[in-house]
C-alpha cells in the first residue's frame, strides 16, 4: 500500500515513516509543505494520504485544504488527517461529501501503533476513522436528545465505537462480547434512532455520524 505523508515537524515525520514502514507500508513520499503535498498527490497517485492539518508555508489549515481539494478532484481518495487538536467543524468538512475513506485523528493516537495502523488500513479501504474526542464532542452536544436518551449504556458504548468507524468485529473484541451481540445492539440502536439499517459497515458509520452531526 503506497502512502504519501505530509508533516512539517521533522521528528514526527521521521517517526511516522519508520512506524509505517515497520508495518509494511510503502512510503511513496514524505513531504513537509502544502505545495509539495499537492504535487505528490497529483503525481504519485498514492493509495492513502496521511496529512497534518497545519503545514507551511502559511501554517494555517493548508494541509486540510489540500486534502479537501485532492478529494474533490479524485472523489473517495483516502485521506487521514492528523492534528494537535480536533474540531467538529473540520470533521464536518471532511465528511461532507459522504463518500467515506476519511480519517481525522489526534496526533496522540500514534502512541498506540496497532490502533493507528488499523485506522490507516481502514481509511485506505474506504472506511472511516474518527477520533474518539470528535465523537465525544458530538455526543456531549446532544445531551437532551430524546432518541439518544433511550439507548442503554451498552448501546451507547457500541454507538460511540461505531461512530469512530470500527467494524462489528472490532467492536466485539473491544467490548469482549460476540459479534452477534454487537449486531443485536446495532440493530437496536438503528431502530431507536430511526435510521435505516444497512449491512454495509461504512454506510452504517456515515449514517450514524450524519445523525450525530445533524442540527437540532
Amino acid at each position: 500500500m503506497r502512502v504519501v505523508l505530509a508533516e512539517d515537524l521533522f521528528l514526527l515525520r521521521d517517526g511516522l515513516v519508520r512506524l509505517l514502514e515497520a508495518y509494511d507500508f510503502e512510503m511513496a513520499a514524505a513531504v513537509e509543505s502544502g505545495p509539495e503535498l499537492e504535487q505528490a498527490l497529483a503525481e504519485l497517485k498514492p493509495d492513502i494520504a496521511v496529512v497534518d492539518v497545519r503545514l507551511p508555508p502559511t501554517h494555517t489549515d493548508e494541509g486540510l485544504q489540500c486534502a479537501l481539494r485532492a478529494r474533490r478532484e479524485r472523489p473517495g481518495l483516502p485521506v487521514l488527517v492528523l492534528s494537535q487538536h480536533v474540531e467538529q467543524l473540520y470533521a464536518r468538512e471532511l465528511l461532507a461529501d459522504g463518500t467515506g475513506g476519511v480519517g481525522y485523528l489526534l496526533k496522540d493516537r500514534v502512541f498506540d501503533a496497532e490502533q493507528f495502523v488499523d485506522a490507516v488500513r481502514r481509511v485506505a479501504a474506504g472506511g472511516t476513522a474518527m477520533d474518539p474526542q470528535v465523537i465525544q464532542q458530538l455526543l456531549a452536544r446532544r445531551g437532551d436528545d430524546r432518541p439518544l436518551a433511550r439507548l442503554t449504556p451498552r448501546e451507547l458504548e457500541v454507538l460511540e465505537l461505531m461512530a469512530q468507524g470500527r467494524s462489528n468485529a472490532a467492536i466485539a473484541s473491544r467490548l469482549v462480547v460476540t459479534e452477534r451481540a454487537v449486531a443485536k445492539h446495532t440493530a437496536n440502536i438503528f431502530t431507536k434512532l430511526g435510521l435505516e439499517v444497512s449491512d454495509d459497515d461504512n454506510r452504517r458509520v456515515l449514517a450514524v455520524l450524519a445523525y450525530l452531526d445533524r442540527d437540532r
Binding site: R54, L89, F111
Partner: protein, 428 residues
C-alpha cells in the same frame, strides 16, 4: 547659478501667491453659501424637534454638517498643511431617531461644529478671500495708470468727482500713476504675505474646530486606564500559564522520565513490571499532551490561527450544548490581537449565556462595517444580565477597552438578552 536659484524661488513664491489667491477665492465663494445653509438648516431642524419633525431631520442635517466640516479638515491638510483632528462620537446606525438625535446632540463635537459655522461665514470668509483681493486689486491700479482713469473720471462719471483707488483720488494721469504705485505696494505685500494669510484661514478653522484640551485629557485618562488593565490582564494570564505548565505538563514529563529510568533498571530483572511502567509512562505523556492542548486553546485557539475569527466562532458554537446559529460577514481578517480579543469576548459572553440565561437557542452575528467589527450575541433566555454584577461581562468590557472597543447589554427581565460588541479595526 545663484541668480537662477533666486529667480526660481521668486517664481515659486509668485506661483504660491497665485495658487493661494485662486484657492482662497474658490474656498470663500463655495463655503460661504454652504456654511450659511448648514447653519440655517441646523437651527430650523433643532427648533422643529419639539413637534417631532426635527427628530427625523436633525441626524441628517448634522451628518451633512459633519461631512462639510470633514471636507474642510481634508482641505486644511491638503492646502494648508494644518491637521485638524475630528473627534465625533460614534452614532448607533440602527438606533431609533430619538436616540440618534440625542446621541448627536450630546456630542460636544456637534456643538463645536455649530460654533464654527458662524465664524467660518464671517472671519473664515474674509481670511479666505483676502489673498485673492490682494492679488486682484493691484490689477485695477495698473489698469487706471494704463488709461482706465479717463473712462472712470470722464463721461457720465464726471459728476462723481475724482475716482478713489484706495486712499488715492484719481483725476489725471499723475494721480493715476500714484494709484499704480499704491497697486505695486499692495502687490508686493501680496507677494510676501498671500500664502501666510491663506494659512491664517486654516489656523482659524483649527482653533475653532479642533477638540478642546479637556476632551484630549479625558482620552488620555481612558487610554491610561485601559493600558493598565491590559498590562494587568496579560500579567495575570502569564501567571496562570506558568502555574498550569508547572503543575501540569511539566510535572507529568518529570513522571515520564522517572518511569523510563525505572524501566531501564527493571527491563532485565522484571520485564512484566517494566511493561506496566511503560504503559504508565505512555499514559502520562498522553495526559501531558491533553493538558498542553487545553492550555494552548486558552492562549490562542488553533482554529483562530488556522481559519480566522469567523470559523473560530463557528467551532466554538459547535462545542456548546445549546443550539447556536452563527452568521459571519467578514471580507478579510483583522489583526491577530483584535481577533483574539474578539474571540475571547465572544467565548465569555457565550459561557455566560449557557450558564445563566437558561436559553435554548443562541444567535451570533459577526460583521464588519464602517471600520468597525460588530458582534452581537443574542439568546432567548430569561434576561437580567448586566455589566458589573460579577457576570464576567466586566472582564469582557475591559478586554475590549484595550482596543477602544465597546460593549452594550440589553437584557430586560424575562429576556431576550442581546450583547453587542464593537471594535474599531480594519480587515486585510
Amino acid at each position: 547659478m545663484n541668480t537662477n536659484t533666486q529667480n526660481d524661488s521668486g517664481g515659486s513664491k509668485a506661483r504660491g501667491m497665485l495658487r493661494a489667491a485662486g484657492r482662497g477665492f474658490v474656498l470663500a465663494v463655495v463655503s460661504l453659501p454652504l456654511a450659511v445653509l448648514c447653519f440655517t438648516l441646523t437651527l430650523v431642524s433643532i427648533a422643529l424637534i419639539p413637534i417631532g419633525v426635527g427628530l427625523v431631520t436633525t441626524p441628517w442635517v448634522l451628518t451633512g454638517v459633519r461631512t462639510f466640516a470633514n471636507r474642510r479638515r481634508v482641505l486644511a491638510a491638503e492646502w494648508g498643511g494644518v491637521r485638524i483632528p475630528a473627534a465625533y462620537r460614534p452614532t448607533p446606525e440602527d438606533a431609533n431617531p430619538w436616540t440618534r438625535t440625542f446621541t448627536m446632540l450630546r456630542d460636544p463635537a456637534t456643538w463645536r461644529d455649530l460654533r464654527w459655522l458662524p465664524v467660518d461665514m464671517t472671519a473664515g470668509f474674509l481670511t479666505a478671500l483676502l489673498p485673492a483681493v490682494l492679488v486682484l486689486y493691484p490689477l485695477e491700479g495698473f489698469a487706471l495708470a494704463a488709461g482706465l482713469w479717463r473712462t472712470m473720471t470722464g463721461g457720465p462719471y464726471v459728476e462723481y468727482g475724482p475716482y478713489w483707488y484706495g486712499f488715492v483720488p484719481v483725476s489725471d494721469q499723475t494721480s493715476a500713476f500714484g494709484a499704480a504705485a499704491l497697486a505695486a505696494v499692495v502687490l508686493i505685500v501680496a507677494h510676501r504675505y498671500a500664502v501666510t494669510l491663506f494659512h491664517v484661514h486654516f489656523r482659524l478653522t483649527r482653533a475653532v474646530l479642533s477638540p478642546s484640551e479637556s476632551e484630549l485629557a479625558e482620552r488620555v485618562r481612558v487610554l491610561t486606564e485601559t493600558r493598565r488593565d491590559a498590562v494587568d490582564t496579560s500579567a495575570a494570564e502569564l501567571r496562570r500559564i506558568e502555574r498550569d505548565l508547572h503543575d501540569g505538563a511539566q510535572a507529568r514529563l518529570v513522571a515520564v522520565g522517572m518511569d523510563l529510568g525505572t524501566v531501564e533498571m527493571l527491563v532485565d530483572k522484571d520485564p512484566e513490571k517494566a511493561k506496566q511502567l511503560l504503559a504508565h509512562a505512555r499514559r502520562s505523556s498522553a495526559d501531558a499532551l491533553a493538558e498542553l492542548r487545553d492550555l494552548v486553546r486558552g492562549i490562542h485557539p488553533p482554529v483562530l490561527a488556522e481559519r480566522g475569527l469567523g470559523d473560530a466562532v463557528r467551532a466554538l458554537a459547535l462545542r456548546l450544548p445549546t443550539p447556536t446559529e452563527v452568521t459571519v460577514e467578514l471580507a478579510g481578517r483583522a489583526d491577530a490581537p483584535v481577533e483574539s480579543a474578539a474571540y475571547f469576548a465572544v467565548s465569555e459572553v457565550l459561557t455566560n449565556a449557557v450558564k445563566h440565561s437558561g436559553a435554548d437557542r443562541i444567535w451570533i452575528d459577526l460583521h464588519h462595517a464602517d471600520g468597525h467589527l460588530r458582534i452581537s450575541v443574542t439568546d432567548n433566555g430569561k434576561g437580567g444580565a448586566a455589566v458589573g454584577t460579577g457576570s464576567g461581562l466586566t472582564g469582557v468590557e475591559r478586554r475590549l477597552g484595550t482596543f477602544d472597543g465597546v460593549l452594550a447589554v440589553s437584557s430586560p427581565a424575562g429576556g431576550p438578552t442581546m450583547v453587542t460588541m464593537e471594535i474599531p479595526c480594519v480587515l486585510s
